[in-house]
Symmetry: C2
Amino acid sequence: MAILGFLRDFPLHGYDLKNRVAALAGHVRPIADGTLYPTIKKLEDAGCLTRRTAPGSVAAPRHMLEITQDGTDQLRRWLRNPEPVFITDDNKWYVLLAFLHHLENAREQSIVLARRREFLDQPTQLFFDEHGRPIPADQLDSPFRKGLMQIHRSFNLGEIDWLDSQIAELDRRAGYTVRQRTGD
Amino acid sequence: MAILGFLRDFPLHGYDLKNRVAALAGHVRPIADGTLYPTIKKLEDAGCLTRRTAPGSVAAPRHMLEITQDGTDQLRRWLRNPEPVFITDDNKWYVLLAFLHHLENAREQSIVLARRREFLDQPTQLFFDEHGRPIPADQLDSPFRKGLMQIHRSFNLGEIDWLDSQIAELDRRAGYTVRQRTGD
DNA sequence: GTACTCTACCTCGGAGTCGATATATATTCT
DNA sequence: AGAATATATATCGACTCCGAGGTAGAGTAC
């Protein structure tokens, strides 16, 4: 998704892609060569991108990669209907968010944000005692677990606020569109 | 790490472990049977845990798992000297944090928190233009990328605050210990 | 009575990822 | 001259993990 998402903005070569993915997921983990190049090949075989050999600006020749219409369609399918783990795994969710603007329909964007919003709404209970009873944050012995729950909670609330404002804005825009269309 | 970390508190059976890991990493992803049971077996073969068959409270018989001294040692090694990805990957870091109290030495705990703190201190630049120039948050076209950077920044600042206060507290405690020792 | 659900364990195949290794070119440092 | 570093691409074996499937006991709904 990150490869096609970056290529949707402008053509890039593998090495550049690697650095951009590493920066985006930088706080997560850089992508390994052994992952990147086979994935590029797979996407090429699937017709999602084409390559043109160009002289390297500094050293060895580059393979400039360009996204195709099929690639754009594939990217939009992934964004429009993301697998559950892209909603629940923070790392994957942030990668998705970085490319969500490639879904051009505000309504579709709003639906994806709403899925994340719904997920964050679920009460999270992280720790339990011997008998399976939930332990509230203030009764935890470990200051690390206390901090973990506290940080987790405040972070969730912050993201929920942001999601709500974004969803409202997107729905307002989509609403205008619908009204304009139905107003014909 | 999560398996040994939970067993360090009290013995559990596989099914219970699965639910606890799912709750801890609940906002991430639940652990699959195909991951859990082979991992339990691997830890058993490595002498990190022992199992005792007990009648199931409701249905099939359970395998109650208990951590051994070797298992405790292994857990402490993982916590004391975590691989880089446990510092940089949020998901893994939070799992580590949930069990850091099993490192009983305040100095050692503090060193691990300091590694995370140092990592968070690095300026994060997520997006670049065609020419590789960094794009500041306020110049991004996508509201999702803007939100991503904004949330990321505020979250980092929050965690840094917490880390600083924890490190100070731990060092204060470790300092007392050293002073008492050297004062003999 | 029988279908469904929850508990509880286990295995196998496949997908994805990493890390090591290899190949080359150009620049910079010593 | 030689070494180190950065650019740039590619492959291979090993490892991890998931998902689908299987086994089984006990309770619950219809």
